[in-house]
Amino acid sequence: MTTSVSIDSVTKRFGDSTAVDNVSFDIAKGEFFTLLGSSGCGKTTLLRMVAGFMRQTSGNIRFDGKIIDDVPPHQRNTGMVFQNYAIFPHLTVFDNVAYGLRARRRGKAEIDREVKRMLELVRLDHLTHRRPRELSGGQQQRVVLARAMVIQPDVLLMDEPLSNLDTEMRIHLRSEIRSLQRQIGITTIYVTHDQEEALLMSDRIAVMSRGRIEQLDVPHKIYAEPKTLFVAGFIGENNLLPGTVIARDADGSSLIELPGGHRVRGMGGVDAAGQPCLVSIRPQDIDLGAPGGARETGIDGTVTDIQFLGGTVKLLVEIGADKPITVSLQGRRGMDMPEAGSPLRLDVPLQAVRTFKPEARA
């Protein structure tokens, strides 16, 4: 894999506030790379620095190994897709898509051929001469996508391209974008605050919070092995419980006591005995065991609420902590449905329990 874009210790300050804080990563050629984070964490700022609309306070950005900090935005050869389309309202679909090729002074025949090919790819070839106001939101977004890809940019930059669309269109377009990206093999930086979108589409995800990268990894690792408390709380559903490490074992796992006196085994950032920690457990990683019996680990509790969601069943289990723990079961034919008020024993496998330093949350 060769590197296409490198972000090297990039920081951006606006006055006193730091929007992007010493961020570094490399993106491989053809990779679909996602910046995921909640509002205001600096995703757009980072993307705009790559596009050249803003200059970083410090650090370098490289395309194919060359520093491009002094290259003005119109010479960077990036293709940007904006959140609110930014379609040229006074130009037809064809002229919108041809815009970048004309700016590059390509021949007429080539422009005709390339635009047509791209419009076929995004399945808009029947709307070539329409004006943007005669298009639906999804169609407009596809025009903008075609417009950004037809110039064969070194990197495609997408800033929440689907957030203005309705759910159905969003679900439809995200697979379309992904398959187009694979087909053309274009290096892509994708910005979103929608974790489902990120997990589904990306080769790798950088989870951002307050200008920093919290974790950078492939989607299933991000989901299964959150490195920080922020990631554990941000991605997917998680039970977060305060606890104390009691002992550390030779295999690297530690024994943790939860409120209510329950004990579980887990791995993670806190392992010295006697230290307080926060524990994360995914609801679907919890198994139901037989109640009673004295074992070293396990959580005893009482079912307080049952939420039947079809494919899954959610149980809220009171365990003596300040909030109930959520357990998610697969809804199966003929399953034993627990009853509200009945006692339960929860087993949690070692791999499902991760510990974090509590102050990391502040």
């Binding site: 491009i68 002094d70 290259v71 119109h74 990036t78 940007m80 040229f88 815009y99 064969q152 070194d154």
Partner: protein, 565 residues
């Protein structure tokens, strides 16, 4: 993939820094600063300099000012200017606010005709209104003689009362238009709440609506004040022995011609000080009073009792009848046979026949100067608006301030300044077409900038950035994306500029030479010579030229009369 990459090799830092200076927008910024400096700052600087230059060596630099404030002949004019302008302001507010309220709130009849009359009054040149009133109420005026036969003496149209009367009628549309649009931004719930708490309609207006209208009212008041304070045509026609400051400037300038207009400069600086002060006051007040409310449900139209409705309608109709009377009079009298200043009751096309031979040159001048200045305003104004809105920073703010300052410089002051600055070789421009175009351009520039800037602010940056991102440089992006997206705003700016420039009189009086005379100068000359019939024919042509673009603006471009202020 990246086979078609066009990224150039990154050049050295120094090269980049120097290269940036020659980028499109830095170049445009420098150009805009140079133009505004040459056309505005330098002339103003020169008249200020001249006003402090003594005629004899060894005297104080304040000699000219000391003279002004010690000689009654001079300082009276300043007092007179304040008297007529303040009176006109108060009267215009008193007349205009109720009219706007009635037309906006009551379902009186023919509301669109009323708005048309307001617009016509607003755009018609003040000096045409003045001499039209002379035809009606002058010593041998139509109405004066008519009532005289019955032994009823009418008040004189000359002197201070006449000037105040004409100013009030001429400038109350400022109040009408601003207050109407102010009323639109008040939410119905505000009124409902007050009425619900037991206030009557009048009390509600005074206690609740009027305070919310304060920004519109103060702005309108100051605009009326400045317009009245700087107008030259009306006091020239109606003033007789009553002298106001602009009149004195013109008189001194004509006297000094050939020499250095030291006194005219001194008076100009005083005039400029007053208008600048008024503009600063307006900015301060509107910043202070702006409530920034926008109505979700604007004030609704009421259906008052028939008596109330009739009374309101009668008031508005009377006002409109008086306001439109001078224009109607011009058009009618242009078709009457004239005997010097006395018009007969005979219909004829003689006036038009008489102007047919002589009008082509001034008409051509008017159209050429106005069009050139208007186009220059559109181009330069849009570029400056872009810098102010899209490239904020210290230089953008400076440019903004300079442009707004040109709004404060009265036409007559600008005229004197341009003559002082461009009278001597190698830049001897006095008497040329260019100097008139320069004056028209810089006077209307703030309006073009403001109209482009406000629509640019509503335009998302993304569209322009998308263009840049696709490889179009800043200049190409401006031409291919920004300008098309602003085209409606630019076009309506062009139409408004044309309408406002074509009737310019005060700067033109200072700057024209016989060969660059415009239609308004011709009218003025005919009025001075007492050829009222010919003046009316010319005046009708000018009114037509002024109103045509507005007709386009209102009928085809969906603008309403509030675009005027």
């Amino acid at each position: 993939m990246t086979t078609l990459s066009t990224s150039p090799n990154a050049p050295g830092r120094m090269q980049v820094a120097i290269g940036r200076l020659f980028d499109f927008w830095p170049l445009v910024t420098v150009g805009a600063l140079v133009i505004t400096t040459l056309l505005l700052l330098l002339p103003v600087y020169n008249i200020i300099g001249l006003s402090f230059s003594g005629t004899e060596a060894g005297k104080s630099v304040f000699e000219n000012y000391a003279m002004f404030f010690s000689e009654p002949y001079y300082y009276r004019s300043l007092i007179n200017s304040f008297i007529v302008s303040l009176s006109a302001t108060v009267l215009a507010l008193l007349v205009g606010i109720p009219a706007a309220y009635f037309v906006s709130r009551y379902n009186i009849w023919a509301r669109s005709l009323i708005k048309t009359i307001v617009v016509l009054t607003f755009v018609s040149p003040p000096f045409i209104g003045s001499y039209s009133w002379v035809i009606l109420l002058g010593r041998s005026g139509v109405l004066t003689r008519f009532f005289g036969e019955y032994g009823i003496p009418l008040p004189s149209i000359y002197g201070a009362p006449g000037i105040i009367f004409v100013f009030t009628l001429q400038f109350f549309p400022f109040v009408f238009l601003l207050v109407s649009s102010g009323l639109k931004s008040i939410d119905q719930s505000v009124e409902d709440a007050a009425r619900n708490l037991g206030s009557g309609e009048f009390a509600t207006f005074v206690k609740v609506i009027a305070p919310l209208l304060l920004p519109s009212i103060t702005t309108a008041g100051l605009l009326v004040f400045v317009a009245a304070f700087t107008d030259l045509g009306t006091p020239l026609i109606l003033g007789e022995k009553f002298r106001v400051l602009p009149l004195l400037i013109y008189g001194e300038f004509v006297n000094d011609f050939g020499g250095q207009p030291v006194l005219a400069s001194t008076l100009s600086v005083l005039l400029l000080a007053v208008t600048t002060g008024a503009l600063l006051l307006q900015r301060w007040l509107s910043a202070r009073f702006s409530h920034a409310t926008s109505a979700i449900r604007p004030l609704t139209m009421q259906e008052p009792r028939p008596a109330k409705r009739l009374a309101a309608a009668a008031y508005v109709y009377c006002l409109m009848a008086v306001a439109i009377l001078p224009l109607v009079n011009i058009v009618i009298s242009s078709f009457l046979k004239a005997n010097g200043p006395v018009l007969t009751a005979q219909l004829s096309l003689e006036n038009y026949r008489r102007i047919a031979g002589t009008i082509s040159r001034p008409l051509w001048n008017t159209i050429l100067f106005t069009s050139t200045a208007t186009l220059a305003c559109a181009v330069v104004g849009t570029l400056i608006a872009y810098i102010i809105v899209r490239r904020p920073g210290r230089i953008g703010a400076l440019l903004d301030t300079i442009v707004m300052f040109s709004y404060a410089v009265p036409g007559i002051v600008l005229g004197v300044g341009l003559v002082v600055t461009y009278h001597h070789p190698p830049f001897a421009l006095t008497g040329t077409a260019l100097i008139l175009i320069m004056a028209y351009f810089i006077r209307r520039l703030p309006f073009s900038v403001r109209s482009s800037a406000s629509s640019l602010q509503q335009l998302s940056r993304d569209t322009e950035e998308a263009s840049v991102n696709l490889g179009a440089g800043p200049a190409v992006t401006f031409v291919k994306v920004t300008v098309p997206l602003l085209s409606m705003a630019i076009l309506s700016g062009v139409l408004l500029t044309w309408s406002n420039t074509i009737r310019e009189l005060s700067a033109t009086l200072i700057l024209q030479s016989g060969s660059t005379a415009t239609v308004s100068i011709e009218i003025f000359n005919e009025v001075v010579n007492g050829n009222f019939g010919v003046a009316s024919a010319l005046g009708s042509v000018l009114i037509l030229l002024t109103f045509l673009p507005l007709l386009v603006l209102f009928t085809f471009m969906g603008k309403n009369e509030e675009a005027l202020v």
